[in-house]
């Protein structure tokens, strides 16, 4: 069984990290940390339609929460949602390609504080609850995203 997983891991197409537009911004952590080598987790999120609905709801919440609203209300929300769906899809080993920038680059200069970061995570958790995504599956995704704090939160 283990060798089967290994074989799958080795034969899976390697995920390419986004190219650095500005080499001076060195990421601390991958933008696309793929956390599984099978389809189960992706299915638990309802596949790509599930992720799209999830991010739609999450964005609505981010636009209401005063801790996250300032970062989205004047941004291109459709583009951000599209990229987040692709990013989560890749992280969950779904059949997607992420064509955005690294987390380090896309959050530069936004002056995001730890409280903003946690508020975003919490609204995402609530949105995942609403969609009935199992808590353990949620936590696998959040655990993969949490270390991005080094590239997202301004010190």
């Amino acid at each position: 069984m283990i060798s089967l997983f290994l074989a799958l891991a080795l034969t899976a197409a390697p995920v390419t990290e986004p190219a650095l537009g500005d080499p001076s911004i060195k990421p601390h952590y991958p933008t696309l940390p793929v956390i599984t080598d099978n389809e189960h987790l992706f299915d638990q999120f309802g596949g790509k339609p599930g992720l799209t609905a999830l991010i739609d709801d999450a964005m609505n919440r981010w636009l209401v929460n005063p801790r996250t609203r300032p970062f989205f209300e004047h941004a291109d929300q459709a583009r951000i949602k599209d990229l987040l769906v692709k990013q989560f899809c890749v992280v969950l080993h779904g059949p997607c390609t992420y064509d955005g920038r690294t987390m380090a680059e896309s959050h530069r200069g936004l002056n995001i504080r730890e409280g903003n970061f946690y508020a975003l995570v919490e609204e995402l958790q609530i949105a995942m609850n609403k969609r009935g995504i199992p808590f353990s599956a949620q936590n696998r995704l959040v655990a993969a995203l949490a270390p991005m704090h080094r590239d997202i939160i301004a010190k």
């Binding site: 919440r61 353990s136 993969a144």
Partner: protein
């Protein structure tokens, strides 16, 4: 008796004060607007049980800029006032304050054992997810055992505990790509008021300081929180029976192990257990195995209603206290912002 009543009143005031301070915040949010935006979100899927009815977008947004960390990630208040489980201080800084925020918590805990009642209450301040300062008061009611010792019913031994904790390295929650735990050091200075039994009949030292180092890790992908704490202490029964051995002979700090594990069921609900070893410095005080001190353990459930209120219920086996083993029910309320 008057002493006992005063303690009860103090507890009631503590709860009422916290309730008064927080209730207006809970109702200050604009409910109709939120309900409208929730409807606009158009998601008819049922919520998870723990989130039912409280998860409209933004309804947990703070009135003031404090307390941004995730629910339950500050732990609860131990009976000694530090953030942790019920008996074991963790490396997590209590409350929900982020690295940019300060916060405050208040707690009240009642423990009803086979022979005794313990009432603990207190408050703590968290500074920038780095420092936690706590103040706690414990009232240990001997109930009918007091009469057995000729002290009358409901004789109370009280102590005050001043605590401080500093996070040294790691972030138990954010650093999910590393096995490095969050590590903190802390101290608890305890001042026992009792000159009748502790300072009198037993002739024990009435104050002492515990020192501890705690390592806590949230293994989020496993839904698991683990903690290990090493404590240096000379306290007997947390200090309620004073410090050191009889006749001031044994004054050395003993190294004791404390551990906790909690399983996260939802983001608001956790279930877990703890164990805490303790020095055994008074065994045989009244002959035989009297006053033997044993390892305490508990199983607990903690539920965060929201950022401001959480409830912890536990079954505790405190081991032997004075004459026999004490099984206990434990109920704790925390308020914070």
């Amino acid at each position: 008796m008057t002493d006992f009543m005063r303690h009860r009143i103090a507890l009631a005031v503590c709860i009422a004060a916290a309730g008064c301070a927080w209730a207006p915040m809970a109702y200050a949010d604009s409910a109709p607007a939120l309900a409208a935006s929730a409807a606009a979100a158009g998601d008819g899927a049922p919520d998870m049980p723990a989130g039912a009815g409280t998860d409209a977008p933004g309804d947990h947004a703070p009135m003031i800029e404090t307390g941004g960390r995730l629910l339950l990630t500050g732990g609860v208040s131990t009976i000694e006032g530090a953030g942790g489980g019920g008996l074991v201080p963790w490396a997590l800084i209590g409350g929900y304050g982020t690295r940019d925020e300060v916060g405050m918590q208040a707690f009240a805990t009642a423990v009803g054992t086979t022979d005794y009642h313990l009432l603990a209450y207190g408050a703590s301040v968290n500074l920038f997810n780095r420092v936690e300062v706590s103040l706690a008061r414990q009232n240990f009611d001997l109930r009918s055992t007091g009469a057995l010792l000729g002290l009358g019913n409901n004789f109370i031994i009280s102590q005050t505990i001043i605590g401080a904790k500093v996070r040294l390295i790691g972030d138990a929650v954010l650093d999910q790509n590393s096995l490095l735990p969050q590590i903190a050091v802390g101290a608890e200075h305890k001042i026992n008021d009792d000159t009748t039994i502790v300072g009198g009949a037993l002739g024990l030292k009435r104050s002492g300081t515990d020192y501890y180092v705690a390592a806590t890790k949230l293994l989020l992908s496993e839904n698991l929180l683990l903690n290990a704490t090493l404590r240096l202490t000379d306290a007997n029964q947390y200090g309620i029976l004073g410090f050191g051995g009889l006749g001031h002979t044994d004054q050395a700090l003993k190294a004791e192990f404390e551990g906790s594990a909690a399983y996260l069921i939802t983001r608001k609900l956790a279930f877990g257990g703890e164990v805490r070893t303790k020095p055994n410095q008074l065994e045989g005080t009244l002959g035989g195995t009297t006053f033997r001190e044993q390892t305490a353990w508990d199983v607990f459930t903690a539920y965060a209603l929201n950022r401001h209120v959480s409830v912890t219920a536990a079954y505790v086996d405190l081991g032997q206290i004075a004459l026999r083993t004490q099984h206990a029910g434990y109920l704790s309320l925390q308020f914070g912002f």
